[in-house]
Symmetry: C2
Subunit: 238 residues, 2 copies
Amino acid sequence: MSTSCDCGHCTNDICLHRVPIFSALNKEELSRIAELIHHRSYKKGELIVSEGDKTESIVIMREGSAKAFKYTTDGREQILYIFSEGDFFGEQNLLSHQTATFFVETLQDVKVCILSKMQFQQLIHRYPEIAIKIIDELGQRMARLENALQSMGVRNVDSRLGSLLIEFESKYGSVVPEGTLIRLPLSREGIANYLGIARETVSRKLGQLEQDGIIRSINNKSILVIDQESLRAIAGIS
Amino acid sequence: MSTSCDCGHCTNDICLHRVPIFSALNKEELSRIAELIHHRSYKKGELIVSEGDKTESIVIMREGSAKAFKYTTDGREQILYIFSEGDFFGEQNLLSHQTATFFVETLQDVKVCILSKMQFQQLIHRYPEIAIKIIDELGQRMARLENALQSMGVRNVDSRLGSLLIEFESKYGSVVPEGTLIRLPLSREGIANYLGIARETVSRKLGQLEQDGIIRSINNKSILVIDQESLRAIAGIS
DNA sequence: CGGACCATTGATAATTGTCAAAATTCGTGG
DNA sequence: CCACGAATTTTGACAATTATCAATGGTCCG
C-alpha cells in the first residue's frame, strides 16, 4: 500500500537537515549521505514495522507522525513512543540481527527516509560524531521512557493525564489568544493506550478538567489549555 | 562515606573484561583504557548519584548491585533499573552537560569503575566499535524499559507481579531440587515501588501465590518458584 | 534479649474498569 | 453543501480491584 517518493523538488538534503543526529556534519558530508538514502511514503493507518520483522534499516521520519506500540498480555495496545518529524527508529541492535520489538503504525500520511544498517555502520566509522549524537539522542529517548515509567508508577490517574497534556502541549501546541491549542496526535483510545487506562476513564477525566475550566475540548481533535497553572499543579508541577 | 579502592590484586583489566561494551577490544587496547580508570567503593545504602548531580563520568558496576529511581509526584520511589555487574550508567547526554535524571543507590556493598566523560569521548573517536557497542547496549536497555512499560500497562496486577518474578528468576535465580530459588534484590517495598503498587498489595499477592502452591516465600529474602508453568500462565506466558 | 525494621492481615473507602446505551463527530458520496 | 451511515466518544450504573489506615506479627542484628 506504500508508494515510493518521487517528488522532484524535495531534495534529500532537506530530509537530512531536519535530523538532529546529522547536524554535526557539513554540507558536503550531508550530500554524500543523501546519496545513500531511499524515500518512501505511507498512508494513514499503515504499518511501517511489525513486531518480529527483520530490521535491516534505519527509518527517519520526514513528515507526519506514527505510534510505536506492543500488545500487552491482556490484548491491549501499549503505546511506547510517538515518532514525529526528525525522530528515527530501527537503530536497535545495530550489530545483532535481532527482530523488531514493537509495531510502528502511522497516525497520518507519512514520509520517511530509509538508510540500510550496513551503510549506517560504515557512516559511524567514518564520522564518529554521529555515534555520539545517536548515543545522546538515545539517552534523551530513554529519559522520556523513564519519565513515562515514572508516571505510570504514579497511582493518581489525574496526574498522569495532566503530564501527558503538558507533554503534548510542548510538542503539538500552538499559542493562541485564549491559551495553548494542542492538536492531538492520538484519539481518546490512543491516549488510554498510552496511559494504560480505560478509554472511558480518559473521557471522564477530560470532562472533569473541562468542567473545572482548565481545558476546552474542541471536536475531539484538539484541546485548548486555558489554565496552564492548574494543569501543572494537577500533573505535580513536573 | 565512600572509600577509594586500594586492593592491589584486582587489576583494572578484570574490571574491563566483564564489561560488554569493551569486549570488541584486544588486550593491548584494554590495558590502555585501564590506565584511565578510577575505582571507588560504596557501602550498602549509599547514594552513588543524586538527581540533579552534574554527571562528569561514566560509572561501570564491578561488584554488587544498585537501584536507579526517581520520586513520583506523590512522593513514592519509582525504581527504573537495577544495575548489576557489567552494567553502566551516566552515559546520558555525553554531549550536553545535563544533570542526572535519577538517583542511584546501592543495594549491597558495591565496587565501581569510573571513567570521565571527556576520556570516554576520546575513546569513542579512537575506537568507533565501542560506540556501536554502546548503541547496541542502550538499545537492549531500551527494550527492557519498553517491556517494563508494556507490563505496567497491563491492568492486571497479578500479571505484573508474575512478570517481575520471572524476570528476577532469570537474573537472580539458581536451580535447586525443588525449583528455582530467587535471591530477591529488593524488599517488598522495593518490589511495590518497582511495580507502582502498594506495599501491602505485594504482600497479599505473594501470599496468594504461596497459598496456590506456586511459590514459597523464604525469610522475606528469597522466593522459591515451585510451579513455573503456572507462574508463566499468570504473567501471560511472556 | 531487645529494639528497630520489615512484612502481614483486616476493615473500609476510594478509584477505576466494565458493560450497555445514547450522543456526537467524521467522512463519503450524492 | 448537505445528509447519511459508520466510527468514536460520552454518560450512567454497577462491580471489581486496590489503596489506605491501623494493628499485629516476624525477622534481623547488635
